[in-house]
Point group: C2
Chain length 324, copies 2
């Protein structure tokens, strides 16, 4: 990300959150504290600029998209019982579940307040309403994805297609909305808006598949979350689904026991890692992540060349080539 | 409420929610099932019509405001551990906490999707963005109110002013936003929009004070929620604050014990009821509710006479004269 973006985003966050002295403000500040990759705001900014828009015009929306993302993390951590996030106590661990539920809601409302604020930075109102539609639908999709993930918990017979539907809702929807709303607010043409929407969808899919892999290719200190969380929560991830599909009968039975929650977490994590290794599920997952990253790359072809387009292309590579 | 409104609102809800076959859709349908008073959508519709707007134009926003309200109820019931709502199992009791958290989020996003849909019903985009700003800020205020309520839990020395701040955020903000956004989307003048905003604020304040009273003047079967919930959750309500202020030393000590959670719930509820009776806290609270209802009534004076204005005036009376 260009240094300028980070500084601008941090300033905008500071400006908006410094004043409040109530617990809710402190809780939101804790949730939003630096440490995140700021992927979504950067996508929004570069999508806007790539179609000819101005950074200053869409900055409130960029801050908003991060708030929407962080809201989902805060609520996810309650659901998954994860006690740390980005190497710090999760919001519900630091402030209790009540405040964490309310802070997540507040961050969602704040996302939409930010969108309305684009009036003051010179975005025409028809573009704001079009972005509102895109962002609100993406948020609902995100919830459908989270609900579907809970529904599928432990269901090892889940198909790759169902998994892909789930992560496109849970993760790619907000990536897509960040790019699409950035292009809308940046006053791009219909063709460019469509291309950036598809780019966001492919990028988000690649990103989530790679994220699922990190539990088996990286350590907790690097990813900043408990690597065993996926196993403990019986969460379906691509390596597990692929391993189950190509495992022998004995390993299948082991995966079934683990995903039924019948194995102690540490043992489960170790055993799952071994089966995933034996079945070559990591390279198979990685190949699928790369295919989506390449598709994201190709989606950018219709855009005029620019530093923003170059950065977006680089992000597609980075999404599948990172260790946290 | 005119019969026409109820039918139109129900049709709009049906149209929007019938299609989905995933768990999340079922959870949202459970949360939104009939039984509510539909106060907020009716306020939005009548505010729009009172300033010259059309019902059909603002109907999506009216459905949206109910979704925002229901979202807060779903999350409130988790926070308060209330197992029933409107005489049926609370969402988290029926579907588990995970789905209830996600469904609340989904309903918030749906609220904003509804607002964007007013494009299709002919509301000009500048009005939609203005309403977006009002609704998003109100949602954030609602969260501030919920957070403040948690912060103040059991703090019997809370002043009436702090209590009023809390309920204006927690309850009146969304009443206000329903009226104000209705008037904005109905293309009212600045003066009428301001008057309806103030009306909503006074009405919501009156409504919440009366709601607090119901625990001591009505029974659980009528209100549809556990009347002892307020005591069990050590929630500050106006009768408790007023009772504490005018109680003798012995009763003060009893209230302190109860609000510290040191008394079994059934005993606590009975004792609190007796102290509230002795200190005349019910009529004192009722007087404050009525003053706000009268102020709401007066706020309507600048509007041209119409059936909608008459109904809004009647709602101000109804808010403080109901047993559920």
């Amino acid at each position: 990300m260009p240094d300028g973006y980070a500084a601008l985003l941090n300033e905008e966050f500071e400006r908006r959150w410094l004043s409040g002295d109530r617990i809710l403000d402190a809780v939101c500040r804790h949730a939003l504290a630096p440490g995140g990759k700021l992927m979504r705001p950067v996508l929004l900014l570069d999508s806007a600029v790539a179609v000819g828009g101005r950074v200053a015009s869409v900055l409130p929306a960029a801050v908003g998209t991060e708030c929407g993302h962080v809201a989902s993390l805060v609520h996810d951590d309650i659901i998954d019982g994860d006690e740390t996030r980005r190497g710090r106590p999760a919001v519900h661990s630091a402030y209790g579940m009540d405040q964490a539920i309310v802070a997540g809601d507040a961050l969602i409302f704040f996302l939409f307040q930010c969108l309305a604020d684009c009036r003051r930075t010179g975005v025409p109102e028809d573009r704001i309403v079009a972005a509102l539609d895109v962002v609100a639908r993406a948020g609902y999709d995100l919830c459908r994805g989270q609900s579907l993930e809970s529904e599928l918990r432990g269901d090892v017979s889940c198909s790759v297609d169902t998994y892909l539907t789930m992560i496109r809702l849970k993760t790619a929807a907000l990536f897509r909305a960040s790019c699409e709303s950035g292009a809308i607010l940046g006053q791009g043409t219909r063709e460019w808006i469509g291309a950036l929407a598809r780019y966001g969808d492919h990028l988000g899919t690649a990103f989530q598949i790679h994220d699922d892999l990190l539990a088996y290719t990286s350590d907790a200190a690097t990813t900043g979350k408990a690597a065993a969380s996926d196993v403990r929560n019986r969460r379906l991830t691509l390596p597990v689904i692929l391993a189950y599909q190509s495992a022998d009968a004995a390993d299948r039975a082991r995966i079934e026991d683990i995903m039924a929650g019948a194995v102690a977490v540490e043992d489960a994590y170790t055993t799952m890692g071994e089966i995933i290794e034996r079945t070559q599920a990591v390279p198979a997952s990685r190949a699928m992540a790369w295919r989506n990253a390449e598709a994201a790359h190709d989606d950018l072809a219709v855009l005029p060349p620019s530093p923003s387009r170059t950065r977006l292309a680089r992000l597609a590579t980075l999404a599948v080539d990172r260790d946290r």
